[in-house]
Symmetry: C2
Subunit: 141 residues, 2 copies
């Protein structure tokens, strides 16, 4: 049966995590998706980063990052300018509004993380990390 399939369980768990997280953000009245938060957080931690670098960190392709960055820009959480030294690159930085959101979000994101992971022992944490990595490695050979 399908439910015994590990692939299915991984995908299902990923969906549940996203659903749960999105729901908590909604309850707090926050207009951002989990994925957009990941991007915003990276921009906050890396001054003048470009989109390719964000893609490398999140393992996502150029169009996906491009669209998410444009969402964040439209919502005025970030500032997007063209690099003065290489006009192919954009330089992304966080806005005041973005900083405020980040501050508001930190405890909420932490709450989301703790909710799902709080009861995992150190051993279980290490175990799932290594098994997931093993699966990814086999699929990348």
């Amino acid at each position: 049966m399908i439910h015994n399939n590990i692939y299915f369980q991984i995908e299902l768990t990923a969906r549940k995590i996203r659903q749960y997280g999105q729901n908590v953000l909604k309850q707090h009245g926050i207009d951002i998706t989990i994925e957009q938060w990941l991007v915003l957080n990276i921009i906050n931690e890396n001054e003048a980063i470009n989109q390719i670098s964000i893609g490398e960190k999140l393992v996502k392709d150029k169009p996906t990052i491009s669209r998410m960055v444009n969402q964040l820009n439209k919502k005025e959480f970030i500032i997007k300018t063209t690099s003065a030294t290489d006009s192919r690159n954009v330089e992304l930085s966080i806005s005041k509004k973005g900083e405020d959101l980040i501050k508001k979000l930190y405890p909420i994101i932490e709450e989301i993380r703790l909710t799902g992971l709080s009861e995992l022992s150190k051993k279980e944490t290490e175990s799932i990390e290594s098994i997931l990595k093993k699966i990814r490695n086999k699929l990348s050979d």
Copy 2:
């Protein structure tokens, strides 16, 4: 850092699995998505099933199933009729063309499964299953 986050790793692994699987299907020249295959397989194993039941098995909502079923119908892999006893329900069954595809797909799907999971020990398999379940349960409280 983001890569140490278990949620991120689960989501990343789910994406890798889908990418890898989709790629193998493409290499075999097969015009179906992984998700559509899951639906097709359930229809193959459950005569006259309706869409709600498929949704329950795959833990997906009505619109998602509706669209996937319509794709399969358009590609003529299934036959979709209205139930004679309750016209709210559809009755889905596999077509000859769908049966042929299923037969062709079984070894390919098995190959995809084996590729990622072959080096997991029985203990690792049980371990990841129980940890993923634990996470899902905590998120559903």
